[in-house]
Amino acid sequence: MNGKLRRRPVERSERTRVRGSRGTPLVVFVLAIVVALPLSASSVEQQVQQITSELRCPVCQGLSVADSPSQMANQMRDLIRERLSAGESPEAVKAYFVERYGEWILLAPKREGFNLLVWVLPFLGLGAGAMALVIVVRRWKRQPTADASLTIDPAHLDRVRRELAEDQR
């Protein structure tokens, strides 16, 4: 299972099929690969896509490894593919990069400790804001209809309302 072949599953399956015709055990083995390869290849590719989109391309500025066209990002993608193919879990692969580069390599901060702040604050703010708004709107409603504009001539007001309504529609 090496990474270079994995990138080109079509070629691999063709080649192995030719070789496989030489013996039964090999046929079984190859069939297993041919059947398994598209599946595992796609899932490894998906995992590569997932992991690389969460890692910062070290030589770029803010781009992920998945998006970066740089050579370094290419090499990192290959390395990740290789490690996943060797059976490493996506978590372990990410942990490896954190061990070497520090938390900086992760494009989204880990959800723990102080970092929780950045994950939680927007939603806390939204909740608090929503509550404040509900209070404000209720207060608006509860107030007696002492709108300043109501002190003027009702007929005039009526006309204004009508025109406003027409204006808005």
Partner: protein, 656 residues
């Protein structure tokens, strides 16, 4: 010589700006109209002087005058004249000059338009505008002088950053800066209102067009920036949640909240403090963005090089925030809301929630952008906050906004009944749900993308329904034909119907973003000559490479023949540009833009003999919807801005 001219012009411009600011206030306070007029003239002179400085630098750029350092670093003899001109905003110093010039032109425009009007406001407006102008000129004179001489004079310049060598360079920065600078006028009027205590909606009426125009330029600038990123940066995306992109998006969000929330004050006299706070926030965020881009405290593809400029902008930000918040606090008592609503379900509350979501969105961007600093200050550890975080947090907020965008326009002012709302939402709601269900049946499973489709279609359906109802009503009452009715609809309420067009654009944009970020097909492969790669319905065959020499670089093109569903569809030639001074080559992508999908091809590495090449092929669905959506948003804004011919005097008198 040119440099001296520029420097002298800037020094005098600084003095004149300070004079204008002081004379305007003194003339107003002491009731000396002559002094006031002299202040106004000062604004015009300031504008002329900054124009002279600008023209000096442009002259130096066009004539490749390499005795000026800025020209050396940002131009080349080999450039076509357009790139020479664009060199003006290719780097820090020149971009500040462009900014200062736009600021000066704007101030001059304000003076010319309002010479004998708005007498209570104008002196303070001029003082604020001239203060900002003086600041920009000062920055150019001390830490970032565009006219610094270069000795010895080299024969050739270093040229722009290669990524800037694109025609977009002629458009995007101008749009963006127009947006940024445009917000200073409403801000200045807001300050004038706060200082003078004239807190009625008067300042809003005066600045409404300014704010909406600035918003339009900012919108166009941001979306054009996305297009630039898409076709130049070569990674197949248009938005990376980069700090500098966020820096432009934050004032957009605050500005969007502002142009919605002002309607509440205009129609109902409510939310006065809030509107003043919003426009101040928008302007503060513009300066914050400038600070981020130019201080070097964050890394970004778009950032300028760092320097002492950062301290200046931080100081300006401090002055703006402290003075504005102090003024707001002092006036808060006079700004108590006096309005009421009949029902919780009112347009007023819809705007409030729209504002809440926009500001939360804005806050999220702010937090994510400065969190690395915070984490470093508190924990001593560098962290990154990038796309995965923003997509996660901003996604739901954006979806909520989209939904409110649909509901808002059909909730009446003061409040309506649930039944009435139900009648308004029933049709569009059914259409939206049907769209979501169709997507599901077609095999689309991502909950967020299905929800986005449903809500976006709902928003579009609301817009269509409102047009239909408006036209039908006019046909009934005025007996007009459909087209004339549509025209009359716009003529009578441009803001509402222009706004609905903008909403339609946002719906398209949302669909484009959701589709392209979910269904992108990406293949990367090493191809030997004659081999092909398949992506979606396309087959891309590698046929060899060719090389050519450009004015500043060497270009290597890959030649690929593309088949679509087995039919030969044409040739694509993605390239790599090699610059002598650049670490990595710059990818020049080749792309075919289509209504449903774009084919996007990037050349990776290659063999010199042309025996093999690594290419990345992407099929990006519905990206063009983003550009269409952006264009429609701008069009809608223009419709809303078009001067109205006639308004009922009774209505206008009543409102102010």
């Amino acid at each position: 010589m040119t440099a001296d001219l520029g420097n002298i012009a800037l020094w005098i411009a600084l003095v004149v700006a300070v004079y204008g600011a002081v004379a305007a206030i003194v003339g107003h306070r002491q009731g000396r109209p002559a002094l006031l007029d002299s202040a106004y003239n000062g604004v015009l002179v300031h504008c002329a002087l900054v124009t002279m400085a600008l023209l000096s630098l442009e002259y130096a750029l066009i004539t490749s005058d390499f005795s000026i350092q800025y020209v050396v670093f940002n131009s080349s003899r080999n450039y076509p004249v357009w790139y020479k001109i664009a060199g003006l905003w290719g780097a820090l110093e020149g971009s500040l000059l462009l900014w200062a010039w736009m600021q000066a032109v704007l101030a001059a425009l304000v003076v010319l338009l309002y010479w004998r009007k708005h007498l209570a406001f104008l002196p303070y407006v001029i003082a604020v505008l001239m203060g900002i102008s003086a600041f920009f000129v000062l920055v150019m004179l001390i830490p970032a002088n565009p006219f610094t001489q270069h000795f010895p004079v080299p024969l050739e310049g270093r040229g722009l950053n290669p990524l800037l060598e694109d025609t977009s360079m002629l458009v995007h920065p101008l749009l963006l800066y127009s947006g940024y600078v445009g917000f200073t006028v409403p801000y200045a009027f807001a300050m004038a209102a706060l200082i003078t205590g004239r807190l009625s909606a008067e300042w809003l009426y005066i600045t409404r067009r300014w704010a909406v125009t600035a918003w339009m330029f900012l919108t166009a600038g941001i979306i054009y920036g996305g297009w630039w990123s898409y076709h130049v940066l070569g990674w197949g995306g248009y938005w990376a949640w980069d700090p500098v992109e966020n820096a432009s998006f934050m004032p957009w969000l605050a500005g969007t909240a502002y142009i919605h929330s002002v309607m509440t004050q205009e129609k109902r006299g409510m939310l006065k403090v809030w509107n003043l706070a919003l426009i101040s926030l928008t302007f503060a965020l513009v300066i914050f963005g400038t600070f981020l881009t130019r201080s070097g405290i964050l890394t970004s593809v778009h950032a300028f090089t760092q320097g002492a400029v950062g301290y200046f902008f931080l100081a300006l930000l401090a002055v703006i925030l402290l003075s504005t918040v102090t003024l707001l606090t002092l006036r808060a008592d006079q700004l108590k809301t006096e309005g009421t609503v009949d029902s919780v379900l009112s347009r007023e509350s819809a705007f409030l929630f729209n504002n809440l979501l926009l500001i939360t969105f804005c806050f999220t961007l702010f937090l994510g952008t400065i969190f690395p600093l915070l984490a470093e200050a508190v924990r001593g550890v560098k962290v990154s906050v990038g796309a995965p975080y923003f997509n996660y947090v901003a996604g739901p907020i954006a979806l909520g906004l989209l939904f409110l965008m649909g509901v808002g326009p059909v909730i009446p002012w003061r409040g309506g009944s649930w039944g009435g709302l139900g009648r308004n939402l029933l049709g569009p709601g059914v259409v939206g749900l049907a769209a979501g269900a169709t997507a599901f049946v077609l095999g689309i499973r991502g909950p967020s993308v299905v929800a986005t489709y449903a809500v976006a279609v709902f928003v579009a359906a609301i817009a269509v329904q409102e047009y239909y109802r408006g036209i039908r009503a006019r046909r009934k009452t005025a007996g007009e034909g459909p087209l004339r009715a549509l025209g009359q609809l716009f003529a009578r309420n441009r803001r509402r119907y222009g706004g609905l067009v903008v909403h339609l654009g946002v719906a398209l944009l949302a669909i484009g973003i959701a589709s392209s970020s979910t269904f992108q097909v990406q293949r990367e492969q090493m191809l030997k000559k004659g081999e092909a790669l398949e992506a979606g319905s396309y087959r891309v065959r590698f046929d060899g490479i060719t090389g050519s020499r450009g004015p500043t670089h060497v270009k290597v093109q890959g030649i690929f023949t593309v088949f679509n569903d087995r039919h030969e569809a044409g040739q694509m030639t993605p390239a790599l540009r090699f610059y002598p001074r650049q670490q990595e080559p710059i990818a020049e992508v080749d792309y075919w833009i289509g209504f449903w999908e774009d084919l996007y091809v990037i050349l990776g590495s290659f063999d010199r003999e042309g025996n093999w090449a690594v290419i990345k092929v992407m099929v990006n669905p519905m990206v063009s919807w983003i550009w269409m959506g952006g264009a429609i948003m701008v069009l809608g804004t223009l419709l809303a801005l078009w001067p109205a011919r006639f308004r009922s005097a009774a209505v206008r008198g009543e409102r102010s």
